[in-house]
Amino acid sequence: MRRITIPGRSIDLLRARATGQTPSPYLCSVCKHHATSFSTTRIRAARNSKVPLTEKIRRRIWGTDRPPGLEDPYGGKSVFENTRGRAEVEEPEEREGRLEAAKPTPDLSTYEPASTWDGLEKVGGYEGWWEENWDPYHQFDGFLPKEVVKDSDEITAALRRAVVEVFALQWAGLPLRDISAAAPGDDLTLEVQISPSAAGAALEFSQEASLEDIVQSLTPAVEDETTVKGNQTESEEDVAADRSTIDPLHPSSEVDETAAKENPTESEEDVAADRSTVDPLSQMTYDELVASWDPAWLQISLENPEVKFAVMKRTMQLTGLRIPDAAIMPAKTVKALLAHLIKPPKPRKLVEALEQKEELMNLPNVSIYAKRITPIDKHKRVGRWKVIEKELMERGLPVTGHEKEDHAQWR
């Protein structure tokens, strides 16, 4: 039924008289129709004052105006009635009065009405609605990370990790298409030795990083998540503990591990923090890491298209660099792929290209600028420009270029 908020109508008065005290039954049919087709809160409030039929019967039976027993013998009030009752207890006028009473009375002696809207609070409008209500719930998440790795040593490390992981999957007899099934976590492959062999690559696992660990890190942690929901990140703790033991390059990893075991209810943020402290790269930079590897791993063959695809896919996921098809095609070994990956992008400006030339930069009589050197720059270099500028200003002459009037003369 349509609800309208009309403050008061003549028809209401009529109706109230009709239903209330005076039982004069006359109403034209049109008015009757009008009165029944709308429902307003006002009418409902009027109806509440009426004694219900069951109560009337009870009074008749007992013969008194206050019959004993429950007020409503047919069960308690429904939820709706309860809420309605609560609302009725606090009448709107009362509530407003209470709120006004609670409000601190402002000191009006220092009040000055604003003449402009600067600094006033803005109320209403839809500005920023999308940023607040839509964007947080519709974030796009791509396969490649948004931040692209730029450091060439870091890229090299990522590529090696991808290669080791792919061959670990192959050794474990798992399908290579699952290489990117799990989101990349910590690098477990730092201690694994990899070298080219007839069957592709030979892996030598150390105690810290076994084949099982690596394969487990590559499989999606579906079961982990389900248990996490149930009992308070227990499995996550285990994983973190495992990872910290795996890390050989961090001497204080045992301390972290014990700390983690003592607090089983540690939140996930703390776990993440633990991991970051356990990061081996805090002690060993990427270039040292890359230098520590035997360069033989660069000769690993990528002739098998399945391996090549998996390596490419994993590398892209780790670095955020999209490897173009034209570079994938001729890459027969890991080295060829790496040569493409760490190639710096073509400089967009001539200055950038020239600045990269060592032989030019080392020449004593050559200097490179991003912009044309004007006479003003030459004056500035010897500290003469401020004086010239001041003198020109004093004489009312144009400091740079020509004045417009000069052109206007000749027009």
């Binding site: 839509w134 034209a326 001729p330």
Partner: protein, 292 residues
């Protein structure tokens, strides 16, 4: 008899020795024709990668791997997850760059696209009476005929434009080659991104597609991108209307060679790529069906 035979043998041995000693000379060694070409050997990686001009084309031009097939990665559209490799014929996606052919194709398209509706009125078409304006003689002014004369204000235009067709001709085989050259150029530069069929986005909003472009580095800062779909994608097309500064989306029917060359990269649905290649291979496929 036997001694004579031995003598001749020793002589021939001596000449042979002399010949071999002469061939030890480095010059003759260099000039001597080699019977077998040594395989390309992999050198150790230079410590500092050269930042100079990188002639990848010359490296790959002689690479036998490119002779027949080239490899293409198929991506899943908005997430850009690589799905698989597909191979395409080298004559489709690995043609050498021919600027002249591309230029002719672009000019051909430009001519074809010209509307050619510019129109002016000659003195015979301008409305009005052809009455002589003033007498031939005796007025002291120039002699004039009708007021539609091109030298008068409001008169006709002598050699003005008239509606015409600007279209020029280009051999179909050349135009088809231009299409594939344009795609090959994109492929070589790594700017051809082939996506799985059914590329569309979840929400038809510009802000969402802007997020996608920003995440994948396709937007305005990275030279804008052309998205080519096989057919009309409701959400993608609606969203891209609000994200025009980041690129544009076109169906494969609307695309021409100039579009392929214009923006920073081409993101194309596999179906659309196949359609373009199938349609533009008249120089590769004989029109006459072979009898066999």
């Amino acid at each position: 008899m036997a001694s004579k035979g031995l003598q001749s043998f020793s002589r021939s041995l001596k000449t042979l020795r002399a010949f071999t000693s002469s061939s030890k000379d480095p010059l003759t060694q260099c000039l001597a024709p080699r019977l077998s070409r040594s395989m390309a050997t992999e050198t150790s990686m230079p410590s500092q990668i050269s930042r100079e001009y990188d002639p990848t084309f010359f490296q790959t031009a002689t690479d036998p791997a490119f002779e027949l097939q080239v490899l293409t990665t198929i991506y899943k559209f908005p997430t850009m997850e690589p799905l698989r490799f597909e191979s395409y014929a080298s004559k489709h996606l690995h043609l050498p760059l021919r600027r002249d052919i591309l230029h002719r194709a672009v000019i051909f398209e430009g001519d074809f696209t010209r509307q050619g509706t510019a129109s002016t009125k000659t003195r015979w078409e301008v409305h009005g009476s052809h009455r002589k304006i003033r007498p031939q003689k005796g007025m002291g002014s120039a002699r004039l005929g009708t007021k539609q004369s091109p030298m008068l204000k409001g008169g006709g235009k002598s050699f003005g434009p008239h509606p015409r067709d600007f279209a020029t001709a280009l051999p179909k085989k050349m135009y088809d080659l231009a299409w594939r050259t344009a795609l090959s150029w994109r492929y070589r530069r790594g700017e051809l991104i082939v996506c799985e069929d059914g590329m569309d986005i979840e929400h038809p909003y510009g802000r969402f597609v802007k997020q996608i472009f920003d995440h994948n580095h396709w937007g305005k800062a990275d030279g804008r991108s052309l998205v080519i779909t096989g057919d009309f994608k409701e959400n993608l097309h609606t969203a891209m209307q609000e994200a025009g500064e980041d690129g544009r989306v076109q169906t494969v029917r609307e695309v021409d060679v100039k579009d392929l060359l214009e923006l920073g990269r081409v993101i194309i649905e596999k179906r659309a790529l196949d359609e373009i290649l199938a349609e533009h291979q008249s120089d590769l496929v004989s029109k006459v069906r072979s009898a066999v």
